[in-house]
Subunit: 138 residues, 2 copies
DNA sequence: AATATTTTGCAACACAGTTGCATTTGCATA
DNA sequence: TATGCAAATGCAACTGTGTTGCAAAATATT
């Protein structure tokens, strides 16, 4: 088991349960973002659907995961680089979705450029999702 | 009825039907993006749910509408500025979602700044969605 | 080890979106 | 303007996604 798992859970004041350990491990193993369905597949029928939903929700609330918007009605989740504090604004990094293999990446080191909006719009958050062909699919 | 409706449909080689006219009119009247549910509400029970889904799909295929990604699992649709040609790359404009009233705007005149991605990622499209407080909710 | 708290699994539900097929509508052509 | 064909619609049924309440089980606390 990945050494960071127990730590991460305790730091977020969450009790350490099988499903949380397993789901967190999945995210740590893979570099890419995962949708609920991916997790359901990779964990077999070990956990109830509802448990997975609740675990994801909890992780987002605690700043362990963040969501990535998409136009295909499938919210993806990815690890926050360093478990952000609660009520966080994460550092705004760019996301990349591969049209071919469907993998979604967090490009942690690419920051979202600032945008000049018309007067009257107060921006709290900016999401930038690029799509195209990823490294592996070239 | 808005004068552009029949034109737009014919230019896209679509037959002119009640549902298409009505749905297109909704988009032309309002400046904001609409989700399926919004359309269902505003058209009463005039059309079947399925018809609305199919009409939206068709409009997207023909480049009359485009989709706006979001993190809340509710795809919104908005008019393409000038009915784009099929197999289009639209001009990349910015979208704005108001956290308070939920309205989604197409900021047609704000273009997405270019982003420098790591080598190996080929970008075909970029979506930038800002969220915060809109003009009306200040 | 015993108790309090949290999490899980199950059942049931609400909503979103899709598919197949029979019926209706729109369009082209005579 | 009537006729026939292609396309769009409505209905029923279904899949998938996400939520809620509650009893049972696991975890944390003493």
């Amino acid at each position: 088991m990945h050494p960071r798992i127990i730590d991460t859970l305790k730091r977020s004041q969450l009790s350490v349960t099988d499903s949380r350990k397993k789901i967190l491990e999945l995210f740590l193993e893979r570099k890419a973002a995962l949708a609920h369905a991916d997790i359901e597949q990779h964990s077999g029928d070990e956990f109830d659907r509802v448990t997975i939903y609740r675990t994801l929700q909890t992780f987002v609330e605690k700043g362990i995961l963040h969501t990535i918007p998409s136009a295909d009605n499938a919210v993806r989740y990815a690890l926050c680089k360093d478990a952000c504090t609660e009520g966080h604004h994460h550092d705004n990094h760019v996301h990349f979705m591969c049209d071919l293999c469907g993998t979604t990446y967090c490009l942690d080191h690419v920051t979202v450029p600032s945008v000049q909006l018309p007067a009257g719009y107060q921006v709290h958050q900016i999401d930038l999702v690029a799509s195209g062909t990823c490294i592996k699919c070239q």
